[in-house]
Amino acid sequence: MLFKNTYNEFIKIVSKPRSYLGLGALTLLIGIIIFAMKADGESMVSFVTASFEQTLSFNGKLVNGNLIAFIILQMLVVHIPLLIALVTGDLISGEAAMGTIRMLASKPISRTQIVLSKFIAGAIYTLVITLWLGILSLLVSHVVFGTGDLMVLNSDGLVILPEADILWRFGLAFCVAFLSLLTVATLSICLSAFAENSIGPIVATMAIIIIFTIIGSLDVSVFDSIKPYLFTTHMASWRSFFENPVPFGEIMNSIVILLTHIVLLVGITLFKFNRKDITS
Protein backbone atom coordinates (compact mmCIF):
# COMPACT_ATOMS: atom_id res chain seq x y z
CA MET A 1 0.00 0.00 0.00
CA LEU A 2 2.88 2.35 0.83
CA PHE A 3 4.42 1.72 -2.61
CA LYS A 4 1.11 2.32 -4.41
CA ASN A 5 0.48 5.53 -2.49
CA THR A 6 4.05 6.71 -3.12
CA TYR A 7 3.46 6.08 -6.84
CA ASN A 8 0.23 8.13 -6.62
CA GLU A 9 2.03 10.92 -4.78
CA PHE A 10 4.75 11.01 -7.42
CA ILE A 11 2.11 11.14 -10.17
CA LYS A 12 0.62 14.16 -8.36
CA ILE A 13 4.05 15.85 -8.35
CA VAL A 14 4.61 15.06 -12.03
CA SER A 15 1.18 16.41 -12.99
CA LYS A 16 1.85 19.83 -11.41
CA PRO A 17 3.38 22.44 -13.75
CA ARG A 18 5.45 23.92 -10.89
CA SER A 19 7.41 20.63 -10.72
CA TYR A 20 8.91 21.42 -14.12
CA LEU A 21 9.75 24.94 -13.05
CA GLY A 22 12.75 23.61 -11.11
CA LEU A 23 14.05 21.53 -14.00
CA GLY A 24 13.48 24.38 -16.46
CA ALA A 25 15.14 26.95 -14.20
CA LEU A 26 18.10 24.64 -13.64
CA THR A 27 18.54 24.06 -17.37
CA LEU A 28 18.35 27.78 -18.08
CA LEU A 29 20.73 28.75 -15.25
CA ILE A 30 23.31 26.13 -16.23
CA GLY A 31 23.07 27.24 -19.85
CA ILE A 32 23.66 30.87 -18.79
CA ILE A 33 26.64 29.93 -16.58
CA ILE A 34 28.25 27.80 -19.31
CA PHE A 35 27.74 30.59 -21.87
CA ALA A 36 29.22 33.17 -19.48
CA MET A 37 32.21 30.97 -18.66
CA LYS A 38 32.82 30.24 -22.33
CA ALA A 39 32.76 33.97 -23.06
CA ASP A 40 34.79 35.20 -20.09
CA GLY A 41 35.93 32.24 -18.00
CA GLU A 42 39.61 33.08 -18.36
CA SER A 43 39.26 36.46 -16.65
CA MET A 44 37.27 34.93 -13.80
CA VAL A 45 40.02 32.38 -13.20
CA SER A 46 42.73 35.03 -13.45
CA PHE A 47 40.88 37.01 -10.76
CA VAL A 48 41.31 34.01 -8.48
CA THR A 49 44.94 33.32 -9.39
CA ALA A 50 45.99 36.99 -9.66
CA SER A 51 47.73 37.17 -6.29
CA PHE A 52 49.72 34.00 -7.06
CA GLU A 53 50.63 34.95 -10.60
CA GLN A 54 53.03 37.66 -9.52
CA THR A 55 55.42 34.91 -8.45
CA LEU A 56 54.08 31.76 -10.07
CA SER A 57 52.92 30.77 -13.51
CA PHE A 58 50.02 28.37 -13.95
CA ASN A 59 50.39 26.15 -16.99
CA GLY A 60 47.78 23.85 -18.48
CA LYS A 61 44.06 24.04 -19.06
CA LEU A 62 42.69 25.94 -16.06
CA VAL A 63 39.19 26.51 -17.45
CA ASN A 64 37.85 23.03 -18.12
CA GLY A 65 34.69 20.98 -17.68
CA ASN A 66 35.54 19.94 -14.13
CA LEU A 67 36.03 23.53 -12.98
CA ILE A 68 32.79 24.65 -14.66
CA ALA A 69 30.87 21.74 -13.07
CA PHE A 70 32.27 22.71 -9.67
CA ILE A 71 31.34 26.38 -10.16
CA ILE A 72 27.82 25.40 -11.25
CA LEU A 73 27.40 23.14 -8.24
CA GLN A 74 28.68 25.87 -5.92
CA MET A 75 26.42 28.53 -7.42
CA LEU A 76 23.25 26.50 -7.62
CA VAL A 77 23.24 24.41 -4.46
CA VAL A 78 22.45 27.69 -2.67
CA HIS A 79 19.41 28.35 -4.87
CA ILE A 80 18.04 24.88 -5.50
CA PRO A 81 16.40 24.65 -2.03
CA LEU A 82 13.84 27.20 -3.27
CA LEU A 83 13.03 25.03 -6.28
CA ILE A 84 12.70 21.98 -4.04
CA ALA A 85 10.55 23.75 -1.42
CA LEU A 86 8.29 25.04 -4.18
CA VAL A 87 7.14 21.48 -4.79
CA THR A 88 7.59 19.70 -1.44
CA GLY A 89 6.14 22.56 0.63
CA ASP A 90 2.84 21.93 -1.08
CA LEU A 91 2.62 18.17 -0.54
CA ILE A 92 0.45 18.18 2.62
CA SER A 93 -0.83 21.77 2.83
CA GLY A 94 -1.89 21.65 -0.84
CA GLU A 95 -4.15 18.70 -0.06
CA ALA A 96 -5.51 20.56 2.98
CA ALA A 97 -6.17 23.68 0.92
CA MET A 98 -8.00 21.73 -1.79
CA GLY A 99 -9.87 19.56 0.69
CA THR A 100 -8.55 16.32 -0.83
CA ILE A 101 -6.84 15.37 2.41
CA ARG A 102 -10.10 14.03 3.80
CA MET A 103 -10.56 11.77 0.80
CA LEU A 104 -6.95 10.61 1.13
CA ALA A 105 -7.40 9.82 4.82
CA SER A 106 -10.54 7.82 4.11
CA LYS A 107 -8.51 5.31 2.04
CA PRO A 108 -7.44 2.03 3.68
CA ILE A 109 -4.01 3.41 4.51
CA SER A 110 -2.70 4.74 7.80
CA ARG A 111 -1.84 8.40 8.25
CA THR A 112 1.74 7.37 8.94
CA GLN A 113 1.91 5.67 5.55
CA ILE A 114 0.36 8.73 3.87
CA VAL A 115 3.08 10.94 5.34
CA LEU A 116 5.85 8.45 4.54
CA SER A 117 4.66 8.10 0.93
CA LYS A 118 4.75 11.89 0.59
CA PHE A 119 8.27 11.96 1.99
CA ILE A 120 9.41 9.23 -0.40
CA ALA A 121 7.80 10.98 -3.39
CA GLY A 122 9.43 14.26 -2.30
CA ALA A 123 12.78 12.45 -1.98
CA ILE A 124 12.42 11.04 -5.51
CA TYR A 125 11.69 14.52 -6.85
CA THR A 126 14.76 15.87 -4.98
CA LEU A 127 16.83 13.04 -6.45
CA VAL A 128 15.61 13.88 -9.97
CA ILE A 129 16.58 17.53 -9.48
CA THR A 130 20.04 16.54 -8.10
CA LEU A 131 20.63 14.08 -10.95
CA TRP A 132 19.54 16.66 -13.51
CA LEU A 133 21.96 19.15 -11.94
CA GLY A 134 24.73 16.53 -12.06
CA ILE A 135 24.07 15.41 -15.62
CA LEU A 136 23.79 18.94 -16.97
CA SER A 137 26.75 20.40 -15.10
CA LEU A 138 29.15 17.51 -15.65
CA LEU A 139 28.20 16.27 -19.11
CA VAL A 140 27.48 19.58 -20.82
CA SER A 141 30.50 21.37 -19.38
CA HIS A 142 32.75 18.45 -20.34
CA VAL A 143 31.38 18.54 -23.88
CA VAL A 144 31.84 22.31 -24.13
CA PHE A 145 35.13 22.78 -22.22
CA GLY A 146 36.78 19.35 -22.27
CA THR A 147 38.34 17.73 -19.26
CA GLY A 148 41.36 18.62 -17.10
CA ASP A 149 42.70 19.06 -13.56
CA LEU A 150 40.41 20.84 -11.12
CA MET A 151 41.48 23.99 -9.34
CA VAL A 152 39.39 24.69 -6.24
CA LEU A 153 39.62 27.78 -4.08
CA ASN A 154 38.78 27.67 -0.41
CA SER A 155 39.68 29.85 2.55
CA ASP A 156 42.94 27.92 3.12
CA GLY A 157 44.15 28.46 -0.43
CA LEU A 158 44.16 26.67 -3.75
CA VAL A 159 43.73 22.92 -4.10
CA ILE A 160 44.63 21.43 -7.48
CA LEU A 161 43.28 17.93 -8.01
CA PRO A 162 44.44 15.67 -10.84
CA GLU A 163 41.88 14.78 -13.50
CA ALA A 164 41.94 11.07 -12.66
CA ASP A 165 41.11 11.85 -9.03
CA ILE A 166 38.00 13.94 -9.60
CA LEU A 167 35.03 11.88 -10.80
CA TRP A 168 34.58 9.93 -7.54
CA ARG A 169 34.68 13.24 -5.66
CA PHE A 170 31.86 14.60 -7.83
CA GLY A 171 29.90 11.37 -7.30
CA LEU A 172 30.14 11.56 -3.51
CA ALA A 173 29.65 15.35 -3.52
CA PHE A 174 26.36 14.91 -5.39
CA CYS A 175 25.31 12.27 -2.81
CA VAL A 176 25.94 14.70 0.07
CA ALA A 177 24.31 17.55 -1.91
CA PHE A 178 21.27 15.27 -2.32
CA LEU A 179 21.21 14.67 1.43
CA SER A 180 21.34 18.45 2.04
CA LEU A 181 18.48 19.06 -0.37
CA LEU A 182 16.54 16.17 1.15
CA THR A 183 16.82 17.94 4.52
CA VAL A 184 15.27 21.03 2.93
CA ALA A 185 12.53 18.89 1.35
CA THR A 186 11.83 17.25 4.72
CA LEU A 187 11.70 20.64 6.44
CA SER A 188 9.22 22.00 3.93
CA ILE A 189 7.04 18.86 4.17
CA CYS A 190 7.15 19.18 7.95
CA LEU A 191 6.08 22.84 7.79
CA SER A 192 3.46 21.81 5.26
CA ALA A 193 1.85 19.59 7.90
CA PHE A 194 1.28 22.66 10.06
CA ALA A 195 -0.19 24.86 7.31
CA GLU A 196 -3.44 25.03 5.39
CA ASN A 197 -2.04 26.78 2.33
CA SER A 198 0.95 26.25 -0.02
CA ILE A 199 2.72 29.58 0.22
CA GLY A 200 3.29 29.51 3.99
CA PRO A 201 5.54 26.42 4.12
CA ILE A 202 7.53 27.50 1.04
CA VAL A 203 8.21 30.99 2.39
CA ALA A 204 8.87 29.66 5.90
CA THR A 205 11.38 27.12 4.56
CA MET A 206 13.31 29.79 2.68
CA ALA A 207 13.15 32.13 5.70
CA ILE A 208 14.63 29.44 7.95
CA ILE A 209 17.40 28.72 5.41
CA ILE A 210 18.22 32.42 5.07
CA ILE A 211 18.25 33.04 8.85
CA PHE A 212 20.40 29.96 9.56
CA THR A 213 22.79 30.81 6.72
CA ILE A 214 23.24 34.36 8.02
CA ILE A 215 23.89 33.06 11.55
CA GLY A 216 26.38 30.57 10.08
CA SER A 217 28.23 33.18 8.07
CA LEU A 218 28.45 35.77 10.84
CA ASP A 219 32.03 35.71 12.03
CA VAL A 220 31.24 36.16 15.73
CA SER A 221 32.11 33.69 18.46
CA VAL A 222 28.73 34.00 20.20
CA PHE A 223 27.19 31.75 17.52
CA ASP A 224 30.06 29.25 17.48
CA SER A 225 28.25 26.91 19.89
CA ILE A 226 25.10 26.63 17.76
CA LYS A 227 26.65 26.74 14.27
CA PRO A 228 27.70 23.06 14.27
CA TYR A 229 24.07 22.01 14.83
CA LEU A 230 22.46 24.13 12.11
CA PHE A 231 21.67 22.06 9.03
CA THR A 232 22.65 24.99 6.80
CA THR A 233 26.22 24.77 8.15
CA HIS A 234 26.42 21.25 6.73
CA MET A 235 24.68 21.95 3.43
CA ALA A 236 28.02 22.94 1.92
CA SER A 237 29.86 19.88 3.22
CA TRP A 238 29.88 18.42 -0.33
CA ARG A 239 32.73 20.89 -0.92
CA SER A 240 34.91 18.94 1.52
CA PHE A 241 35.26 16.15 -1.08
CA PHE A 242 37.38 18.61 -3.06
CA GLU A 243 39.93 19.06 -0.30
CA ASN A 244 43.16 17.12 -0.17
CA PRO A 245 43.20 15.03 1.97
CA VAL A 246 39.44 14.58 2.18
CA PRO A 247 38.25 15.24 5.77
CA PHE A 248 36.06 12.12 5.93
CA GLY A 249 35.50 12.61 9.68
CA GLU A 250 34.00 16.07 9.16
CA ILE A 251 31.89 14.83 6.25
CA MET A 252 30.56 11.92 8.33
CA ASN A 253 29.71 14.40 11.10
CA SER A 254 27.78 16.51 8.56
CA ILE A 255 25.98 13.42 7.23
CA VAL A 256 24.98 12.39 10.77
CA ILE A 257 23.67 15.90 11.54
CA LEU A 258 21.70 16.08 8.27
CA LEU A 259 20.26 12.58 8.84
CA THR A 260 19.35 13.53 12.42
CA HIS A 261 17.49 16.57 11.07
CA ILE A 262 15.66 14.39 8.55
CA VAL A 263 14.64 11.81 11.17
CA LEU A 264 13.54 14.52 13.62
CA LEU A 265 11.54 16.40 10.99
CA VAL A 266 9.86 13.21 9.76
CA GLY A 267 9.06 12.37 13.38
CA ILE A 268 7.53 15.80 14.02
CA THR A 269 5.50 15.55 10.81
CA LEU A 270 4.17 12.10 11.74
CA PHE A 271 3.30 13.33 15.22
CA LYS A 272 1.49 16.39 13.86
CA PHE A 273 -0.27 14.69 10.94
CA ASN A 274 -1.51 11.79 13.06
CA ARG A 275 -3.21 14.33 15.35
CA LYS A 276 -4.28 16.72 12.62
CA ASP A 277 -7.96 17.64 12.56
CA ILE A 278 -8.99 17.08 8.97
CA THR A 279 -12.70 17.26 9.54
CA SER A 280 -12.93 21.05 9.63
Binding site: F47, E53, T55, N59, G60, S155, D156, L161, R239
Partner: protein, 235 residues
Protein backbone atom coordinates in the same frame (compact mmCIF):
# COMPACT_ATOMS: atom_id res chain seq x y z
CA UNK B 1 110.64 54.48 -9.03
CA UNK B 2 109.99 51.53 -6.71
CA UNK B 3 106.77 53.18 -5.59
CA UNK B 4 105.72 53.65 -9.18
CA UNK B 5 106.42 49.97 -9.98
CA UNK B 6 104.54 48.86 -6.83
CA UNK B 7 101.61 51.13 -7.70
CA UNK B 8 101.64 49.80 -11.28
CA UNK B 9 101.64 46.19 -10.07
CA UNK B 10 98.80 46.86 -7.62
CA UNK B 11 96.77 48.60 -10.31
CA UNK B 12 97.36 45.69 -12.69
CA UNK B 13 96.45 43.20 -9.96
CA UNK B 14 93.22 45.04 -9.07
CA UNK B 15 92.40 45.47 -12.73
CA UNK B 16 92.81 41.74 -13.36
CA UNK B 17 90.86 40.90 -10.19
CA UNK B 18 88.03 43.24 -11.27
CA UNK B 19 87.65 41.51 -14.65
CA UNK B 20 87.85 37.99 -13.29
CA UNK B 21 84.16 37.53 -12.36
CA UNK B 22 83.18 38.64 -15.83
CA UNK B 23 85.54 36.05 -17.30
CA UNK B 24 83.87 33.39 -15.18
CA UNK B 25 80.49 34.57 -16.42
CA UNK B 26 81.84 34.54 -19.98
CA UNK B 27 82.75 30.87 -19.55
CA UNK B 28 79.26 30.10 -18.25
CA UNK B 29 77.69 31.99 -21.14
CA UNK B 30 79.97 30.27 -23.66
CA UNK B 31 78.97 26.88 -22.29
CA UNK B 32 75.26 27.69 -22.42
CA UNK B 33 75.67 29.13 -25.92
CA UNK B 34 76.58 25.67 -27.20
CA UNK B 35 72.95 24.74 -26.50
CA UNK B 36 70.90 25.98 -29.41
CA UNK B 37 67.74 24.24 -28.26
CA UNK B 38 66.55 21.40 -26.09
CA UNK B 39 63.53 19.48 -24.94
CA UNK B 40 63.37 17.87 -21.53
CA UNK B 41 60.88 16.00 -19.39
CA UNK B 42 60.16 17.68 -16.08
CA UNK B 43 58.78 16.24 -12.87
CA UNK B 44 57.46 19.12 -10.80
CA UNK B 45 56.95 18.87 -7.08
CA UNK B 46 55.56 22.04 -5.53
CA UNK B 47 55.37 22.70 -1.81
CA UNK B 48 53.86 26.14 -1.57
CA UNK B 49 51.86 27.59 1.33
CA UNK B 50 48.19 28.06 0.40
CA UNK B 51 48.51 25.78 -2.61
CA UNK B 52 47.98 22.03 -2.52
CA UNK B 53 49.04 20.29 -5.71
CA UNK B 54 50.16 16.76 -6.46
CA UNK B 55 53.48 16.25 -8.28
CA UNK B 56 52.98 16.78 -12.00
CA UNK B 57 54.80 16.14 -15.26
CA UNK B 58 55.53 18.51 -18.11
CA UNK B 59 57.66 18.78 -21.21
CA UNK B 60 59.82 21.87 -21.54
CA UNK B 61 60.96 23.22 -24.90
CA UNK B 62 63.72 25.81 -25.11
CA UNK B 63 65.32 27.60 -28.00
CA UNK B 64 67.93 30.34 -27.91
CA UNK B 65 67.73 33.06 -26.94
CA UNK B 66 64.74 33.05 -24.65
CA UNK B 67 61.98 30.96 -26.21
CA UNK B 68 60.38 28.65 -23.68
CA UNK B 69 57.30 26.49 -23.96
CA UNK B 70 55.87 24.32 -21.22
CA UNK B 71 53.54 21.55 -22.27
CA UNK B 72 51.57 19.65 -19.66
CA UNK B 73 48.52 17.44 -19.64
CA UNK B 74 47.27 18.81 -16.35
CA UNK B 75 47.86 21.98 -14.35
CA UNK B 76 51.47 22.67 -13.40
CA UNK B 77 52.84 25.44 -11.24
CA UNK B 78 56.24 26.91 -12.01
CA UNK B 79 58.10 29.97 -10.77
CA UNK B 80 57.39 33.03 -12.87
CA UNK B 81 61.09 33.65 -13.23
CA UNK B 82 64.09 31.35 -13.18
CA UNK B 83 64.36 29.58 -16.51
CA UNK B 84 65.83 32.11 -18.91
CA UNK B 85 65.77 35.53 -17.24
CA UNK B 86 69.07 35.19 -15.39
CA UNK B 87 70.96 33.71 -18.36
CA UNK B 88 69.53 36.36 -20.69
CA UNK B 89 70.55 39.06 -18.24
CA UNK B 90 74.07 37.63 -17.80
CA UNK B 91 74.59 37.39 -21.55
CA UNK B 92 74.64 41.21 -21.88
CA UNK B 93 77.70 42.43 -19.97
CA UNK B 94 76.86 46.07 -20.50
CA UNK B 95 73.86 45.72 -18.21
CA UNK B 96 75.65 44.85 -14.99
CA UNK B 97 78.76 44.96 -12.86
CA UNK B 98 80.05 41.71 -11.40
CA UNK B 99 81.93 41.58 -8.10
CA UNK B 100 83.43 38.54 -6.43
CA UNK B 101 82.17 37.62 -2.96
CA UNK B 102 82.87 34.84 -0.46
CA UNK B 103 83.68 31.22 -1.22
CA UNK B 104 81.15 28.59 -0.20
CA UNK B 105 80.97 24.82 -0.36
CA UNK B 106 77.66 23.68 -1.85
CA UNK B 107 77.10 19.90 -1.79
CA UNK B 108 80.88 19.31 -1.54
CA UNK B 109 81.60 21.58 -4.52
CA UNK B 110 83.75 24.67 -4.04
CA UNK B 111 81.87 27.70 -5.28
CA UNK B 112 82.53 31.41 -5.44
CA UNK B 113 79.91 34.06 -4.99
CA UNK B 114 79.55 36.65 -7.73
CA UNK B 115 77.36 39.64 -6.96
CA UNK B 116 75.64 40.98 -10.05
CA UNK B 117 74.66 44.63 -9.73
CA UNK B 118 72.56 46.07 -12.56
CA UNK B 119 73.91 49.29 -14.06
CA UNK B 120 70.42 50.65 -14.58
CA UNK B 121 67.80 51.09 -11.87
CA UNK B 122 64.93 50.75 -14.32
CA UNK B 123 65.41 47.06 -15.07
CA UNK B 124 63.42 44.22 -13.55
CA UNK B 125 66.38 42.68 -11.73
CA UNK B 126 67.40 44.62 -8.63
CA UNK B 127 70.25 42.37 -7.49
CA UNK B 128 71.49 38.92 -8.39
CA UNK B 129 73.88 36.63 -6.57
CA UNK B 130 75.30 33.56 -8.23
CA UNK B 131 77.47 30.90 -6.65
CA UNK B 132 79.63 29.49 -9.39
CA UNK B 133 81.50 26.21 -9.73
CA UNK B 134 84.50 27.71 -11.54
CA UNK B 135 85.94 24.32 -12.44
CA UNK B 136 82.89 23.24 -14.46
CA UNK B 137 81.74 26.78 -15.33
CA UNK B 138 78.21 26.25 -14.04
CA UNK B 139 75.96 28.11 -11.60
CA UNK B 140 75.33 26.06 -8.46
CA UNK B 141 73.03 28.50 -6.75
CA UNK B 142 71.41 31.80 -7.60
CA UNK B 143 69.46 34.37 -5.67
CA UNK B 144 67.66 36.91 -7.79
CA UNK B 145 65.72 39.85 -6.41
CA UNK B 146 63.34 41.52 -8.81
CA UNK B 147 61.11 44.55 -8.58
CA UNK B 148 57.83 42.66 -8.97
CA UNK B 149 58.45 39.05 -7.93
CA UNK B 150 60.47 39.39 -4.73
CA UNK B 151 63.45 37.12 -4.19
CA UNK B 152 63.81 33.71 -5.82
CA UNK B 153 66.59 31.41 -4.67
CA UNK B 154 67.48 28.53 -6.98
CA UNK B 155 69.68 25.52 -6.32
CA UNK B 156 71.07 23.73 -9.37
CA UNK B 157 72.11 20.09 -9.54
CA UNK B 158 73.90 18.67 -12.54
CA UNK B 159 74.01 15.22 -14.07
CA UNK B 160 74.57 13.85 -17.56
CA UNK B 161 74.27 17.25 -19.26
CA UNK B 162 76.96 18.97 -17.22
CA UNK B 163 79.03 19.48 -20.38
CA UNK B 164 76.22 21.71 -21.74
CA UNK B 165 75.68 23.39 -18.37
CA UNK B 166 72.13 22.06 -18.23
CA UNK B 167 70.85 21.05 -14.77
CA UNK B 168 69.25 17.75 -13.78
CA UNK B 169 67.40 19.36 -10.88
CA UNK B 170 66.27 22.86 -10.03
CA UNK B 171 65.04 23.73 -6.60
CA UNK B 172 63.34 27.10 -6.35
CA UNK B 173 62.66 28.83 -3.08
CA UNK B 174 60.09 31.55 -3.63
CA UNK B 175 58.68 34.34 -1.58
CA UNK B 176 54.98 33.79 -0.85
CA UNK B 177 54.23 36.47 1.70
CA UNK B 178 52.50 38.53 -0.97
CA UNK B 179 49.78 35.93 -1.57
CA UNK B 180 46.33 37.14 -0.59
CA UNK B 181 43.17 35.14 -1.04
CA UNK B 182 40.24 36.96 -2.63
CA UNK B 183 37.83 36.79 0.33
CA UNK B 184 34.69 37.15 -1.74
CA UNK B 185 35.33 33.88 -3.58
CA UNK B 186 37.01 32.02 -0.74
CA UNK B 187 34.22 32.40 1.79
CA UNK B 188 33.94 29.20 3.76
CA UNK B 189 30.73 29.21 5.77
CA UNK B 190 31.60 25.89 7.39
CA UNK B 191 34.39 27.42 9.41
CA UNK B 192 33.66 28.99 12.75
CA UNK B 193 35.52 32.09 13.87
CA UNK B 194 37.60 29.87 16.18
CA UNK B 195 38.68 27.69 13.21
CA UNK B 196 39.59 30.77 11.22
CA UNK B 197 41.75 32.09 14.07
CA UNK B 198 43.55 28.73 14.20
CA UNK B 199 44.36 28.78 10.48
CA UNK B 200 45.72 32.32 10.74
CA UNK B 201 48.58 31.32 13.06
CA UNK B 202 52.17 31.11 11.81
CA UNK B 203 51.84 31.56 8.07
CA UNK B 204 54.76 30.21 6.03
CA UNK B 205 56.47 32.78 3.89
CA UNK B 206 58.60 30.52 1.71
CA UNK B 207 57.60 27.95 -0.87
CA UNK B 208 59.64 25.35 -2.70
CA UNK B 209 59.31 24.03 -6.22
CA UNK B 210 61.59 21.16 -7.19
CA UNK B 211 61.89 20.36 -10.88
CA UNK B 212 63.64 17.14 -11.79
CA UNK B 213 64.74 17.19 -15.41
CA UNK B 214 65.36 14.04 -17.41
CA UNK B 215 65.68 12.78 -21.00
CA UNK B 216 67.30 15.87 -22.45
CA UNK B 217 67.30 16.14 -26.23
CA UNK B 218 69.84 18.84 -26.97
CA UNK B 219 70.33 20.62 -30.31
CA UNK B 220 67.77 18.62 -32.20
CA UNK B 221 66.81 21.68 -34.27
CA UNK B 222 63.46 22.73 -32.77
CA UNK B 223 61.18 24.64 -35.11
CA UNK B 224 60.02 28.14 -34.17
CA UNK B 225 56.45 27.09 -34.87
CA UNK B 226 56.43 25.04 -31.64
CA UNK B 227 56.76 28.25 -29.66
CA UNK B 228 54.11 30.08 -31.65
CA UNK B 229 51.50 27.61 -30.32
CA UNK B 230 52.49 28.47 -26.78
CA UNK B 231 49.50 30.61 -25.90
CA UNK B 232 46.96 28.15 -27.25
CA UNK B 233 48.42 25.22 -25.34
CA UNK B 234 48.79 27.07 -22.09
CA UNK B 235 45.10 27.95 -21.87
Amino acid sequence: MKKAILFGLLLAAFGAFGQEPEKVIDKINAKLATVKDYTVNAHIDADIPMIKIMPSKAKIYFKQKDKVKIESKGITILPKQGFTELNTFLSDKSKYTAIFGDSLKIRDVDTRLINIIPNSSSGEIVLAKIWVDQKNAVIMRSQVTTQTNGTVKTDFKYGSQLSYGLPSELKFEIDVKKFKMPKSVAADINKTSTDKKKTKSKPRTKGNITITLSDYDVNSGLSDSIFKEKKKNQQ
